[in-house]
């Protein structure tokens, strides 16, 4: 958190984005300190390669610096959006393909049901997500992890696990319903 003022620590994401638009480097540093840990964990889990994860982490925040003027905080949550972009990029690298048109940097709106701007909320959410994932059956959890962290489709998961396609679809649908229920409760 080096170099941050109390104002930056308390500032909302929207205020910090506005400062970045005005080329305030300390605002970018504040957002980095707020969300780098979350993104680093996600990228390392997907890529299992610290160097590749750090390259993408740096690039995602650099793109935020370059494109902040086009980001409308009213359209969605910054951390959710950063997580979507980081995941897309990591999976693209994992699968050695370039992001498709649908994964364009600024065209994705993400609405997160909670405000993640302070560390305490992030810590509480971490516990809730962990519990929600642990409540899934072993097979459901494995299928969700293959989808989210490895970017596999229904067919690819069925091929990987050897389970019938219908079983995989049902398993993931049930898991998604369960996560939705537990995360929103």
């Amino acid at each position: 958190m080096s170099g941050q003022t109390g104002t930056e620590l308390r500032a909302t994401d929207a205020a910090l984005i506005q400062k970045i638009v005005q080329r305030d480097e300390s605002a970018l540093a504040a957002l980095y300190d707020r969300y780098a840990s979350l993104l680093s964990s996600l990228l390392n889990r997907i890529l299992r390669d610290t160097q590749a994860a750090e390259e993408i982490l740096q690039d995602v925040f650099y793109q935020l610096w370059l494109n902040a003027a086009k980001f409308d905080p009213g359209r969605g949550s910054l951390p959710g959006w950063l997580a979507v972009i980081a995941r897309n990029r990591a999976i693209s690298r994992l699968r050695r393909h370039n992001p498709s048109e649908g994964e364009e940097f600024l065209e994705t709106t993400v609405i997160v049901p909670v405000n993640l701007e302070n560390a305490i909320t992030q810590q509480q959410l971490l516990g809730r997500v962990k519990t929600a994932v642990e409540n899934l059956s072993v097979e459901q959890r494995a299928a969700i992890e293959l989808a989210y962290f490895e970017g596999l489709t229904h067919t690819e998961i069925a091929s990987r696990t050897g389970d019938p396609l219908g079983t995989v679809k049902t398993r993931i649908r049930t898991a998604v319903e369960s996560l939705k229920r537990n995360l929103l409760s």
Binding site: R23, A36, T50, E54, A86, P113, L125
Partner: protein, 270 residues
Amino acid sequence: MNGHPTRPEDFDLYALGVLEGEEKAAIESHVPTCAECAKKLAEARGRIALLAFSAPRVEPSPAVRERLMRQVHASAEIAGAKRVQPELERTGGFFGRWWAAVLVPACILLLFVAAHLRNENERLSRELAQEQATLQQQQLASERQQKQLDEARHVANLVEAKDTVIVPLAQQKGMPQGTAHVMYNARMGMMMYEGKLEPSPAGKSYQLWLVPTSGAPISAGVFNPTTGETTHTMMKVPQGVTAKAFAITLEPAGGKPQPTGPFVLMGAVS
């Protein structure tokens, strides 16, 4: 499909990335035309994005932040230089028009010269493109070197600090063979793991944990070493956290948010 998707969870499945073929195409063709479904998809993306919190905690190296801020600072300087350019072009506009008036009668003669200049310009453009590509490669190489230097500096600071402690990690009975230690400095909030372990069993990964004086263990890295490979991991310890021990467990491939597997190596901070 022109109507709304019939199953609400289809948006979550799309955000998760598991849909394919017609199911995927149906969402992609409908959502751009329907504000209600676009909002549902944005909410589904947000729910699915929360799964990022289930990844084991891995703090980025402090060098990433430093490189990012250097990159941002350099781009701000370039942008500043570019803003000066239009002003110069505008100042030259008056003279440009004056010269144009003088040169119009001579245009026909200059056509031949222009053709030659165009060819020359194309040749120079090609050379310039090559130069730019070379420059970009050199820049990437330079960034890589800078990254290595940053990391080396952090290692040197950690090693040289008098209050850095070395925590040997002891082999646990019946577990894969290995030797490792962690260099830890509570004041600097830095730790560095160095160790050599047998390759992890199929479907398993080794996971390094920082055990704080209070609270749950914090993941400090997941690794799958190959034969004879020494693994190094450096991590910034989260603010306010003091380590009382370090441990390595054997976890399902990719690691877990909290330790679930057996301890392979373990050592307490003295």
